[in-house]
C-alpha cells in the first residue's frame, strides 16, 4: 500500500504554499512514496524511553551583553525587496475585496 496518496501530496503542497502542477503531483507522489517507505525504518528502533535530540550543542539561554550595535539601515534592509513603498515592504492584498 502506498505510504502517501496523490491527494495528500496536493494538500501538503497547499500547506507549503507551492502551486504545483498536475504533472508534478503525479511525479512527486510516486517519489515521496519511495522515500517515505525508506525513512519509515526509523520506526523499527525501540526508543520509547529515549529522550529526543534536537541539537548537538547543549547550550541554553544564550544571551549577548545588552549593548547596542549597528544593524542594517532601512535602505539596506529593503535593498533586495521585489517591491517597496515609503520605506516598507509592499505586498499584494491580504484581504478579500469588500462587497
Amino acid at each position: 500500500m502506498a505510504a502517501i496518496s496523490r491527494e495528500e501530496v496536493a494538500h501538503l503542497a497547499r500547506l507549503s504554499r507551492l502551486a504545483v502542477t498536475e504533472e508534478e503531483l503525479d511525479r512527486f507522489a510516486g517519489q515521496l512514496d519511495v522515500i517515505l517507505q525508506s525513512v519509515a525504518r526509523v520506526g523499527e528502533v525501540a526508543a520509547d524511553n529515549i529522550p529526543p535530540t534536537s541539537h548537538s550543542v547543549p547550550l541554553t539561554n544564550v544571551y549577548r551583553d545588552d549593548v547596542p550595535v549597528p544593524c542594517l539601515t532601512q535602505d539596506e534592509a529593503l535593498s533586495g525587496a521585489p517591491d517597496a513603498f515609503e520605506g516598507r515592504f509592499r505586498v499584494p492584498r491580504i484581504l478579500e475585496e469588500e462587497a
Binding site: I4, E8, V9, L12, A13, R14, L15, S16, R17, L18, A19, V20, T21, E24, R27, F28, Q31, L32, V34, I35, L36, S38, V39, A40, R41, V42, G43, E44, V45, A47, I50, P51, P52, T53, S54, H55, S56, V57, L59, V62, R64, L72, E76, A77, S79, G80, A81, P82, D83, F89, V91, P92, R93, I94, E96
Partner: protein, 487 residues
C-alpha cells in the same frame, strides 16, 4: 598553466609575504585559469574579478595583513557576501546581492584572503551531485562526464581544477566531504558550532556546518583556523577556543601514529560500497598500521538508521527555514498582477523559484511535522539521533577516531541517480552519522578506483577537530595527494 595556480595555500602565503610573488599576480593567475577552464568545469556561478584584484592590490599595498594574505579563496554560493551575488544556486534568489557579509567571510577578509567568486552547488545545498543546481551542473575535473559530488561540487571542482587553492563549503549531510572524496581533494566538516552559521542561508539549522576545502590537509587546517571560533551572532556557536588544527596537521605529516587507535565501524563493512572503494580503504588501513596506528573493530548498531533519520530531520528543518522565501523581502516575486492575493502570489513565486528536489524536501518535511505523523516520523528520528550520538560516545571510549570510506561509490555519470531520489541519498550513507552527532570529520584522498578518486573519512569526537587532522595528514604522508588529468 601558471605555476602559481599549482602552489599550495601555505606556499602562496609564504611567497607573497616574502615578496617573491605579488598578490595581484597570484589573483590574476587564478582568474586566467578560471577563464581557461571554467567553461568546461562550471565550478563558478559568479566570478568577482574586480573585487579579487582590488583585494589583492590592498594586500600588495600593505593595507591588509593576516596569515593567508593574498591567498585566493572560492566561496560556496550559499554564503552571504556583501554586494556580491548570492543565489544558493536557486532561481528564487537570482540576482540577490546581500547587504552584509557572513561572519566567516569577514574572517576570510581579515585573514587577508582574496575572494575569487561564488561556487556552484545543488540548490539550497540539497543534493550529492550539483545536478540540482538551477544554473546547470558542475563537471568533475577527473572526468567531465561525471558528477563532482554535492552539494558543494563547485568548491571541490574549483580546487581540483586549480582554479583556486582554497574553497569554503558547507556540510549538512556530507556536502563538503563527499565532493572532496570524488574530486580527489580534502574536505573537512568542523565540529558543529565550531564555525559560525551567521550569513549562511539555512538548510537544516541543527546540522549545517561551514568548513574548508583544499588540495592538502595542511591547507585545509590553515583555512579552518581562520574561519573557526566563537561568534556571538550565532547562538549555537561554541564559546570555546579553536583546537590547534594546523599544529595537529603538521604533527601528523611526520607520519607517526604510534598509540593512535582507529575504530573501523563494523556496520559499514561492505555496506553497498564498490569493490574498488573498499580495496583503497583497506590499503589505507594497512598504511596507517605501518605508521604505528592500531585498528579496532567497533560496533555502532544505530548507524544503519542514520540515513532514514536524516531524511526526516533535515527536510523538516528545511520546510521551516525555506518559508522565508515568500516573495516579500528578497528574491523572486511572480504573478503580482494587482488582482491576486498575497497567498496566491506566494504560491506562484515558490512554485516558479524552487527546483524539484527542494519542493520534494519541503513537502516531505511538512508531512513529517504534521499532526498525526509528528511522533512517528520527526519525533522518532530525534530519538534515533540520541541513539546514534550514544553509539559515537561509546565508540570513542575505546578508540581515538572512527574511520570509513567517505562515500560508497566513486564519481558517477550524470543522470544515473536523478530518476530515483533515494539512490542519490545513498551517496551520504557514511557521512550523515557525524552530522547527527555533531562531531568533526574529514575526507582525505586515499587512492584511485578505475581511475577515479576514493576518499578516506576520519571522524573524531566533538571539539577534537585536531585529532582528525593529525590522522588525515599522516595518511596523506603515506599515500600522497592526487593530481587530476590535464584539462
Amino acid at each position: 598553466m601558471s605555476d602559481l595556480t599549482k602552489m599550495s595555500a601555505a606556499q602562496l602565503a609564504k611567497a607573497i609575504a616574502g615578496k617573491e610573488a605579488s598578490a595581484v599576480e597570484v589573483a590574476q593567475a587564478h582568474l586566467d585559469r578560471i577563464d581557461a577552464v571554467d567553461e568546461r568545469v562550471h565550478a563558478f556561478l559568479h566570478v568577482d574579478r574586480e573585487g579579487a584584484l582590488a583585494a589583492a592590490a590592498a594586500v600588495d599595498a600593505g593595507d591588509v595583513k593576516g596569515p593567508l594574505a593574498g591567498v585566493p579563496v572560492a566561496v560556496k554560493d550559499v554564503i552571504a557576501t556583501k554586494g556580491v551575488p548570492t543565489t544558493a544556486a536557486s532561481k528564487i534568489l537570482e540576482g540577490w546581492r546581500p547587504p552584509y557579509d557572513a561572519t566567516l567571510v569577514e574572517r576570510l577578509r581579515a585573514a587577508g584572503t582574496v575572494m575569487l567568486g561564488k561556487t556552484n552547488m545543488d540548490e539550497f545545498a540539497m543534493g550529492s551531485s550539483t545536478e540540482y543546481s538551477a544554473y546547470g551542473a558542475t563537471n568533475n575535473p577527473w572526468d567531465l562526464g561525471r558528477i563532482p559530488g554535492g552539494s558543494g561540487g563547485g568548491s571541490a571542482a574549483a580546487i581540483a581544477a586549480y582554479e583556486a587553492p582554497l574553497a569554503i563549503g558547507t556540510d549538512t549531510g556530507g556536502s563538503i566531504r563527499q565532493p572532496g572524496a570524488v574530486t580527489g581533494t580534502v574536505g573537512a566538516k568542523p565540529t558543529y558550532g565550531g564555525t559560525s552559521r551567521y550569513g549562511l542561508i539555512a538548510f537544516s539549522s541543527s546540522l549545517d556546518t561551514p568548513g574548508p576545502c583544499a588540495r592538502n590537509v595542511e591547507d585545509a587546517a590553515l583555512l579552518h583556523s581562520v574561519i573557526a571560533g566563537h561568534d556571538p551572532r550565532d547562538s549555537t556557536s561554541i564559546p570555546q577556543p579553536v583546537p590547534d588544527v594546523v599544529g595537529a596537521a603538521r604533527r601528523g605529516a611526520t607520519g607517526d601514529l604510534s598509540g593512535v587507535k582507529l575504530g573501523v565501524v563494523k556496520e559499514f563493512a561492505g555496506d553497498g560500497s564498490e569493490p574498488g572503494v573498499l580495496s583503497a580503504f583497506h590499503e589505507s588501513l594497512e598504511a596507517l598500521v605501518k605508521l604505528g596506528a592500531e585498528i579496532v573493530e567497533v560496533s555502532c548498531p544505530h548507524f544503519q538508521y542514520a540515513l532514514p533519520a536524516y531524511y526526516l530531520i533535515a527536510p523538516s528543518e528545511a520546510s521551516s527555514n525555506l518559508a522565508r522565501f515568500d516573495g516579500v523581502r528578497y528574491g523572486l516575486r511572480v504573478g503580482d498582477d494587482g488582482n491576486r492575493s498575497l497567498e496566491e502570489v506566494m504560491s506562484l513565486t515558490r512554485e516558479a523559484g524552487f527546483g524539484p528536489e527542494v519542493k520534494r524536501r519541503i513537502i516531505l518535511g511538512t508531512y513529517a511535522l504534521s499532526s498525526g505523523y509528528y511522533d512517528a516520523y520527526y519525533g522518532q528520528a530525534q530519538k534515533v539521533r540520541t541513539l546514534i550520538t550514544r553509539d559515537f560516545e561509546s565508540a570513542f571510549e575505546r578508540v581515538d577516531v572512527l574511520v570509513s570510506p567517505t562515500t560508497p561509490f566513486v564519481a558517477f555519470p550524470f543522470g544515473s541517480r536523478t530518476s530515483d531520489p533515494y539512490q542519490m541519498y545513498l551517496a551520504d550513507l557514511f557521512t550523515i552519522p557525524t552530522n547527527l552527532y555533531g562531531g568533526p570529520a574529514i575526507s582525505v584522498p586515499c587512492g584511485l578506483s578505475e581511475g577515479l578518486p576514493v576518499g578516506f573519512q576520519v571522524m573524531a569526537p566533538t571539539l577534537a577537530d585536531d585529532r582528525m587532522y593529525r590522522v588525515a595528514a599522516a595518511l596523506e604522508s603515506a599515500v600522497g595527494t592526487l593530481t587530476p588529468p590535464a584539462l
